[in-house]
């Protein structure tokens, strides 16, 4: 630092020489400045949490909630029923039905894992179901007994309009041990 002039006529050596004194007025200034920044941060966090929090619901929770979530972005997960998938590849319109499945991973584990839960959900007609519409390319993994995680809004017509579609499949890949091959 020694050889470089800091600012205008202010040099590094002057910094050390700067008289140390208490200045109540500048303390207040710092306090106000700091508090303003902290308040802004808190405001940004709180306001954006409220506006952008996405509730993660199951199909049955959504169906029984009435209009509580109308107009709000929410995430729903459901089991895809293969026979209902309709895809218009010219206009990229996708329509399918999902059946209720538990949203909690622990509950899924308790009921025998993802594959078993999805199978049960698709084959049990007594579970609540919901039609989903999505504008876009049909994902590869969208097939019977896959889990769809959809982000979007519930329409007044009872159809869920998804803006984002994620899919999970129980795969062979999860198996811990190799197929027996012996030696």
């Amino acid at each position: 630092m020694q050889n470089v002039p800091l600012q205008g006529n202010q040099t590094a050596s002057m910094v050390g020489a700067y008289p140390i004194r208490t200045n109540a007025q500048s303390r207040v200034k710092f306090l106000v400045g700091g508090l303003l920044i902290v308040a802004a941060i808190v405001y940004l966090i709180v306001a954006n949490t409220q506006n952008n929090a996405q509730f993660f619901l199951t199909v049955s929770e959504l169906k029984s909630s009435g209009a509580a979530y109308s107009g709000r972005e929410i995430r729903v997960s459901g089991a895809v029923i293969g026979d209902t998938i309709q895809y218009d590849s010219q206009n990229l319109k996708l329509k399918f039905t999902v059946a209720h499945m538990p949203g909690d991973n622990k509950e899924i584990d308790r009921k025998g894992g993802l594959a078993a839960v999805l199978k049960a959900a698709v084959t049990d007609p007594s579970l609540p179901r919901m039609t989903v519409v999505y504008n876009g390319v049909k994902p590869d993994l969208l097939r019977n007994e896959s889990q769809a995680i959809m982000t979007g809004k519930m329409g007044e017509d009872g159809i869920f309009y998804a803006s984002e579609l994620l899919l999970k499949c129980p795969t062979r890949y999860e198996e811990a041990l190799p197929q027996q091959s012996g030696n």
């Binding site: 050889n3 140390i20 990229l92 890949y173 041990l177 190799p178």
Partner: protein, 682 residues
């Protein structure tokens, strides 16, 4: 044999590090040089030992020993050798070994430095490094052993290190292979860079801890570790930039950063580290913020461990968390323990860490640095809140809630803008005191220049107020930085007889931290330009078109020519479309977006075709096609304006960090050199 040997070496290293910790503690308490020396030797021995263990694992990976479950999990015979070797960090157990090896390397390097002036720190630095190392080694030895193998016991397959009773080894013919997503040059260097960054932050933390324990609470620990912090920061930044580039090239969603919890986990120590790099300067120059600096380095260290934990425990589901295991609670316990211990020490030394002075002027350099730190902490708070909010909400209300990218973007956007603003003002403010008048005198010229950039943007038809503010900030910081650097170059040029270029170089050489910092700031500004471009002006379209048909986007015409589908030797099926691109009637070239389908993993990967210029990137994805008739195909097309400046800025950023971190000629070395020339003469 190799597996048993490798595991044995790991166990020995673990025991050795426990011994080193004990010896270090005894040496520190008894002030016994012999014990400290013994701890030092233990520390130095961990490196060759871990090198040996790593070589064992690499050997198993390279030679396809699929009876080892780790090798089975991350490699297969079809993979080229370099991928087999880099698969070391493609899975949890291997990456923990790699982490430990890096830590041993760094800690040993520190142990080898000259300790004449810092004897009292030595045992504590060794203890902290070895505790960290022992924790990771313990995790490897007891829970995440990369050397376990498959055995057949009475018709059942089990995974174990040693032969179970009546068991015999199973040799699978082939492994599962590395996750295709990770088979990319960016993914090969991204994790090691990130780990290097993570690991090297252990060193400043160890010194801070040593300073607290020994009560030598002046700024010695900061001066000793300044370069380590910069190097750590360099690698962490490089890791983050490479990760972004990888996402852009491989994940096929037209972006580079998704606010994924694991990305955030790597970003959080970078935030505290950046705040730390700034605020230590205030301690060095003005003797302020001593406690705060300790807090920052403790936070950084804990976030580093937390980051490793998040990526490695599978506690949060994301693209990165490809590993599920029981080591989560252990990580959590270790983080809590170190955090509490370090904080307790800090409170113990609270009074001796009193500031030597006070801040006087709200416009002074140190006060602007304080605000900079507040903003960094604000961004950290947003990130932390975003990660833990879903957990908290579920705990208290039973309601599953998440926050996505919009939350992070909107909450951090103004804070980043504030940081940019400070980046423009701070270099022109003075230490100690600045007044509106002195600051105004130097700031008005760059301000005028930057406003003309806003006028130019308006003329170009940009009306979004947020974009205009962003562009103004970019122009403002760039003009201030260039103006201030230029002013100093001209002053030096007038004072000395050097030419301008020489002055430019000498100035940077004389004060690497300041001018390296300026280069970093310019890099940040360019990155900000790229981010504004892609975040605010990205346009996209998608459509299914027949052969010969075309899509239009922002003056570009993308014409679908043909599609080829074929198998490759490395066990994937490739569907590759040829599209020709023209802009305003001018032919620009043919590009090949493709989709790779990996048979072994049953996983498709969409690889974009990118036409990259400084103005914008045309990013074409092949999303669907008719395999039989080959009649039509579906494409998704993005135009990402200015995005290349993000990568160029990242490069300049790294360059600036290297300038700042480049070793100075230390007085000690100079003295040695004088002596040696004398001996030569004699």
């Amino acid at each position: 044999m190799v597996a048993e040997f490798g595991f044995g070496v790991l166990v020995v290293t673990f025991v050795l590090s426990i011994y080193g910790i004990t010896a270090g503690l005894i040496g520190a308490v008894k002030k016994s040089a012999v014990w400290v020396q013994s701890a030092r030797s233990a520390m130095l021995l961990t490196f060759p030992l871990l090198t040996l263990a790593t070589i064992c694992l690499l050997y198993l990976l390279a030679t396809g020993h699929f009876e080892v479950s780790f090798v089975y999990g991350v490699t297969n015979t079809a993979m080229p050798l370099y991928l087999k070797l880099t698969a070391l960090w493609g899975g949890q157990a291997g990456s923990l070994v790699f982490w430990s090896w890096l830590l041993a390397a760094f800690a040993s390097a520190v142990t080898l430095r000259k300790w004449d002036r810092d004897q009292e720190f030595l045992p504590w630095v060794i203890v902290v490094s070895l505790v960290t190392l022992a924790f990771f080694l313990g995790m490897i030895v007891f829970f995440e052993n990369p050397f376990t193998r498959f055995w057949l016991v009475r018709g059942k397959e089990v995974e174990a290190m040693f032969q179970p009773l009546g068991g015999r080894l199973i040799f699978p013919e082939d492994g599962r292979g590395l996750n295709p997503l990770l088979r990319h040059p960016g993914m090969i260097i991204h994790p090691p860079m990130l780990y290097l960054g993570f690991v090297s932050f252990t060193i400043p933390f160890a010194f801070a801890f040593a300073a607290l324990v020994t009560g030598r609470t002046d700024d010695r620990w900061i001066r000793v570790t300044r370069r380590w912090s910069l190097v750590a920061w360099l690698f962490l930044s490089l890791g983050l930039v490479l990760g972004g580039r990888w996402a852009y090239d491989v994940l096929g969603w037209g972006g580079y950063w998704g606010w994924d919890p694991v990305e955030i986990a790597a970003f959080m120590p970078w935030l505290t580290g950046t705040a730390f790099l700034h605020s230590v300067m205030i301690q060095e120059k003005r003797g302020l913020f001593k406690r705060w600096n300790i807090v920052l380095i403790i936070l950084t260290y804990c976030l580093v461990i937390f980051g490793t934990f998040l990526t490695r425990s599978g506690v949060l589901s994301s693209v990165h968390a490809f590993a599920q295991s029981a080591i989560g609670p252990l990580f959590f316990a270790f983080i809590s323990l170190t955090f509490v211990a370090a904080l307790a020490l800090l409170l113990h030394r609270w009074n001796s860490l009193r500031s030597e002075g006070q801040m006087h002027s709200i416009l002074s350099r140190e006060s602007l640095f304080l605000f900079n730190n507040l903003l960094f902490m604000g961004i950290l708070a947003v990130c932390f809140w975003g990660v833990v909010f879903p957990l908290i909400s579920e705990l208290f209300t039973g309601q599953k809630v998440t926050v996505g990218p919009p939350f992070y973007e909107r909450a951090t956007g103004p804070l980043f803008a504030g940081l940019l603003f400070l980046m423009g003002v701070a270099p022109l403010s003075a230490w100690g005191a600045s007044t509106w008048k002195t600051l105004g005198r130097s700031i008005w010229k760059p301000t005028v220049v930057s406003l003309s950039a806003v006028a130019a943007s308006l003329a170009a038809g940009i009306t979004d107020p947020f974009a205009l503010v962003g562009l103004w900030l970019v122009a403002f910081v760039a003009s201030v930085t260039i103006y201030d650097y230029g002013r100093a170059v001209v002053a030096r040029h007038r004072r000395t007889s050097e030419n301008l270029l020489m002055s430019f170089w000498r100035l940077a050489e004389r004060n690497r931290r300041r001018y390296g910092g300026y280069i970093i700031h310019l890099g940040v500004v360019l990155m900000a330009l790229g981010i504004i471009g892609i975040e605010m002006f990205q346009v996209e379209t998608q459509g299914t078109i027949p052969q010969g048909g075309s899509l239009q986007l922002k003056g570009y015409t993308i014409t679908y020519n043909s599609l080829a589908e074929f198998d490759t030797p490395d066990d994937r099926n490739v569907a590759r479309a040829a599209v020709s691109v023209s802009r305003d009637g001018k032919y620009l070239g043919t590009f090949y977006p493709r989709r790779d389908f990996y048979y072994a993993q049953q996983q498709p990967m969409t690889i974009p075709a990118v036409r990259s210029t400084l103005e914008d990137d045309l990013y074409v994805l092949l999303v669907d096609w008719r395999p039989i008739s080959s009649q039509g195909a579906t494409f998704k097309v993005f135009v990402n304006p200015l995005v290349n400046w993000l990568w160029i800025g990242g490069f300049i950023f790294i360059l600036g960090t290297m300038v700042a971190a480049w070793p100075d000629k230390e007085p000690e070395e100079e003295r040695v050199r004088v002596k040696s020339t004398e001996t030569v003469r004699a």
